[in-house]
Subunit: 447 residues, 2 copies
């Protein structure tokens, strides 16, 4: 069985914690039984394994998320990256092409598609097992999960079941897009389910549809022609056109922790990071990723989140609306996880004389390296403050350690590899208006 986790795009609804490089599914905010913290996607991958589902996992995602996925999941999953954002049908078509053309899976193999970040429980994964059984028994071309609604939400699509069932599944009569609350009430009276975006089918079924758009024997070729897939959702292109669709009900815990309001309900601590809540706080959560201590008092139903990208102080009930405001605050990412480690912008200043400096704290994991590169419009000064590594300047490797400083003038080629965990403070000076001032080439490490 092949399990494809769809990893969605940038989320501004959990600003400032989430940004383009760190979507909500990667935030390490959920507490595990052992007291450690995990992200939503780490939790789902762990749950898949604990549910003893015999499935190989593939993450379908945008290229910008590759580094953070590698950091969080290591080699536990395969990753398929879309060259550009389109819609759910192209993303699933590309993942299916990967399974068929790259992994050489059989046409009869059962494929499960699901979001990478539902906050749910074991029963959800047992339901996935039942869906796979239904596909194997050929009860329908397409089998989807129907989540029992707990209230008449206007946020979800609905699946209306028809007559006839065998207990484990029901036939699907029709789909309904996000309805009004009034219509949602009627749908619930008709025993409709929420469409949670979990689909099961045989690989051959979806590949027949894929080949209507791109016929190719090579995954790399398919990926290079990704723009030929129409920008359309899986629901429109596949689910609504299927000759037979079955739904397998699930009625356990299932939440989208996509807003501060829903996310803070699942936090075990009211203060994460350097923060103190006074005695007059009620249902108030503070998440502090900055070095500055936070003191909060006299607030009720409020979330405070302080991160390198900004600081949010908001009544929880208003957090669904922050997106449109914080988009006006946008500036460069102030924190990123990369395949080699992390960086944090600690100062970004423009001076009266027009000069500009950007100061970062950069940490490389042992054995990792930053690529060999040059800049045409900026100089950099690196002061090593932790660990040791190998530094290359214009083809010369040298050993560096905490206490050393290196100056990298404009146009000089440079790279760095960590021997132990390695941290340096980088001061960049140059023209902040020149974007992508970077040229890379290969370096063959001697040491």
């Amino acid at each position: 069985m092949q399990l494809v986790l769809l990893s969605g795009g940038s989320g501004k609804r959990l600003w400032p914690l989430s940004n383009n490089a760190r979507s909500k599914q990667f935030l390490p905010l959920l507490e595990k039984e052992d007291g450690g913290m995990e992200s939503m996607v780490q939790r789902v991958v762990r749950q898949v394994k604990e549910a003893d589902i015999d499935a190989e996992i593939t993450l379908a995602t945008n290229a910008s998320q590759l580094d953070i996925i590698t950091n969080q999941l290591g080699d536990a999953v395969s990753v398929v990256t879309e060259p550009e954002r389109r819609d759910t049908f192209p993303a699933i078509a590309l993942a299916a092409s990967y399974l068929k053309l790259h992994k050489q899976c059989d046409d009869d193999e059962v494929v499960i598609i699901m979001p990478c970040d539902p906050f749910t429980e074991t029963g959800y994964f047992r339901t996935i097992g039942k869906m796979a059984e239904c596909v194997k028994k050929d009860v329908a071309e397409l089998v989807l999960m129907g989540i029992s609604p707990t209230y008449p939400s206007a946020k979800y699509g609905y699946v209306v079941p028809g007559q006839g069932a065998d207990g484990e599944w029901l036939p699907v009569a029709r789909f309904t897009e996000k309805p009004t609350v009034e219509v949602a009430k009627q749908l619930i009276e008709q025993k409709a389910f929420w469409n949670g975006g979990v689909f099961a089918f045989r690989l051959g079924y979806i590949m027949d549809i894929v080949r209507k758009h791109i016929q190719s024997e090579s995954f790399e070729d398919t990926r290079s022609r990704y723009a030929e897939f129409p920008k359309i959702s899986f629901d429109y292109e596949v689910a609504e056109k299927a000759h037979s669709v079955a739904v397998v009900p699930f009625s356990g815990e299932w939440k989208d922790l996509g807003t501060w309001n829903t996310l803070t309900d699942e936090l075990h601590h009211t203060a994460i990071g350097n923060a103190l809540l006074g005695p007059k706080c009620e249902n108030t959560h503070v998440i502090n990723e900055l070095q500055y201590p936070i003191f909060v008092d006299g607030l009720k139903d409020v979330v405070v989140s302080a991160c390198p990208d900004g600081i949010l102080v908001c009544a929880k009930k208003e957090t669904e609306n922050i997106k449109k405001y914080v988009e006006t605050l946008e500036h460069r990412p102030m924190y990123e996880e990369r395949r080699w480690g992390t960086y944090r912008v600690i100062d970004d200043s423009t001076y009266d004389d027009g000069s500009h400096s950007l100061t970062k704290s950069i940490t490389l994991q042992p054995g990792k390296n930053i690529s060999y590169q040059q800049h045409h419009h900026r100089t950099e000064v690196w002061t090593f403050v932790e660990g040791e590594g190998i530094f290359v300047l214009d083809g010369e490797e040298r050993h560096v350690k905490a206490g050393d400083t290196v100056v990298i003038p404009v146009e000089h080629w440079h790279a760095i590899k960590a021997v132990t965990r390695l941290t340096f403070i980088e001061v960049q000076m140059g023209n902040p208006l020149v974007e992508d001032d970077i040229v890379r080439k290969e370096w063959d490490w001697k040491d």
Copy 2:
């Protein structure tokens, strides 16, 4: 006439904006008519000048405030610094000794003592003029300002007037320390005033009392013997022992902007710094001195203050109580104004291997310099990012400018002088537990 402004100590009640090096009276938060900003002490000095009082101003303060006073007031005032904190009587005794022994003022000269930071209006300064007239007419040994109470406060001392007056002044029958609210109501029925800490007397009167504790012909000698003054308030040591005391009433605007609740009432803008308030905010103020953008929504009667020392998010009515909590958050000052300019800590990190780095952005004003110094336990790397200056290392002066980097190893003597406004990023590495790791000596600048 000599006007002595008493500059009080560190205030935690306006944390994180105020700290040991920046008390509330120095916060540049009040808007002037021209739209510029000024601090409470700048406002008072401006008001004294606008009221056309013919007075020389002396600021009596702690040594730690000297740099910021010089930055804010330049040469407009004389400054007397106490070698240690004692109480109001020693502070006033030292200021009087300065006027008598250093400035050689006459015994008959009228001295006015007042706090440096009342939020008040022109009438207050006209009242000071009336008090000086009363002293000149010898209506009493000691003349004080009586502020008409607006409510039965338990926060202030009260002055109860006796019989007999000439319209401008009343004799004082007795003083009452901070009463209960019940007693305060009775005092107000008896026409009592608040004691606002404004006193007028002839210099000779106070010097007779000073000489009971320290007899000296030299101000420097008096200052060096400062510890011989008893730790006692001016009210106890002088006002309550005086043979005759008069009170001059004042009934205009007068506030202590000592808590966030009172201070934010006087702010002209709800957002100062990089901050955005959403449409669901009511009576909410944000003061942001950090580079991180702040978004606030859905809050009522709340203050948000983000500064290098920390971040406060607090219901305004709880702000009187923050002191005891934020004292537990204490760490090194993250921002200071010095006689040469300012610095800001942008990163303070300890690493797994025990090493430590402290990164600052340091700005010197043109012509100013940092003293010639060495450190036994830390190295420093300075990367200049704005302007130009003269750098000294082990006795060698050299010109430096934006783009240059200098490395200062342990035990090497160094100093820097700004030619233009000069900014550099300093990365310190060393033992953070060694405090005051600095030795200074004179440097005779050639350039």
